[in-house]
Amino acid sequence: MAVYRRSTRTRYVLAVLVLAALTLVTIDARSNGSGVTSEIRGKVHDVFSPVQRATHSALQPVGNFLTGALDYGSLRQENQRLRDQVIALQNQSAQSTAEQAAADQVLRQQGLPWVGAIPTRTVQIIDNGSSNFENTVTINKGTTSGLAKGQPVVAAGGLVGTVASAGSRTAVVTLITDPTFSVGVRLDAKNIGYAQGFGRNDPLRVSVITTNAAVPTLKKGQVLLTSGLDSELYPPNIPVGKVVDASRAPGSVEPDITLQPLVDLNELTYLQVLLWAPQ
């Protein structure tokens, strides 16, 4: 009898929790990323950010050790290459402190030619994201620094992503490899397309927007830039990626174009957020 009562209670609890979860999903899906649930997420990021930063700093040596241990195979090859580099570098006067490297990274991002007159904010990544289904990073500035949802994020090489949500002191950036990310790119003088992310470590795929113009011919290694058309979400001429492949499948009219991001998304520390809104 006791087991029966317990079992009934378990079913009741499970039903209530499932309903609560479904209610949250419905509210969040209906608010479309701008309702009370996204506000809660932003607030939680703000509250957590100091603790997150402290935990990240405290556990960084462990993280570095784990990264090294898990990449042992590739590290051996890289080790040889680095030994050669070290010999060359010993002949130069190198003040390679961590602060110097960080300052260099920030300086490299100042005066990026394709940013033009758009005002920017320099931000630092405080969380690299641990989800296996979304490629995001959390940065240390939010709405109080002028950041807003939808603003483009760049680094020295080119486009990095877009601000997905902004709390008052932190914001989440969706990287260009995330499957939800897409950006218009100019293929040649007459053709445009859009590049879409397909997951971490995978290249972006470009879909050609069909027009009456001749099919674009792209060369391997060619850099594609944002198209910047009217109502486009990104300003024009920001480098997006390098063409890895632009071959045409038999029987296909349009080429299968894949792009490698110009920025190494695994080695990001500082970023520039463009305080820009679609025109």
């Binding site: 609890v13 809660i40 641990s130 499957p179 997951g199």
Partner: protein, 190 residues
């Protein structure tokens, strides 16, 4: 404070610490681009040590905490997934899973793989089609590697969870001894 309330508080603190560790170290622990998921592992441990009800409760809160750190999937999707997995593992534990030390890594492996697939399936049903955009091979890779991570981490995490859950209702019912491995008789099928 009663032992039950103290146990709940310890579990809440453990979940909080786990999410912090995951956000700080998760990206450094990627193998083949896939990171471990401590929250689903704690959910499975809760089901194993406390039964279906404890698994559902811990799964709901663990999933909700994980949801708060995501942006592209709706709030509540992980909570729904983990809650169902926790309840499922707990129900199986009380009904059919025998008492063996090997059960913990095995349950962690199967439970985590099931959680990944259920998360994507529920997400797809709820309109989150981007979860499948990376392709089936990526999904299988995530399920297998994440499950392996859970199996590897399961014994220490189950031990820690077992210590935290001492005195909780579910743990008492199943005769948990605090090592994360349960020592109870099989309960009648519910």
């Amino acid at each position: 404070m009663s032992p039950h309330a103290t146990a709940r508080l310890r579990i809440a603190v453990l979940l909080f610490i786990a999410i912090l560790i995951e956000s700080a170290l998760g990206s450094d622990m990627r193998v083949g681009g896939v990171a471990p998921d401590l929250m689903i592992l704690l959910t499975i441990c809760a089901g194993l040590t406390g039964g279906a009800e404890a698994g559902a409760w811990v799964g709901f809160w663990a999933g909700l905490m994980a949801d708060l750190f995501l942006t592209s999937t709706p709030l509540g999707l992980s909570a729904l997934t983990y809650c169902l997995i926790g309840a499922g593992v707990g129900a199986l534990r009380t009904a059919v899973i025998p008492e063996r030390r090997l059960v913990v890594p095995l349950a962690a492996f199967v439970g985590t793989a099931a959680a990944v697939l259920l998360f994507v399936a529920l997400g797809d049903m709820l309109g989150q089609t981007q979860l499948l955009d990376a392709g089936r091979s990526w999904l299988i890779r995530v399920a297998v590697i994440e499950a392996c991570w859970s199996a590897v981490l399961s014994l220490p995490v189950a031990w820690v969870y077992g210590r935290a859950a001492r005195g909780s209702v579910g743990a008492e019912q199943l005769g948990m001894i605090g090592s994360g491995v349960v020592r109870g008789e099989r309960l009648p099928l519910r």
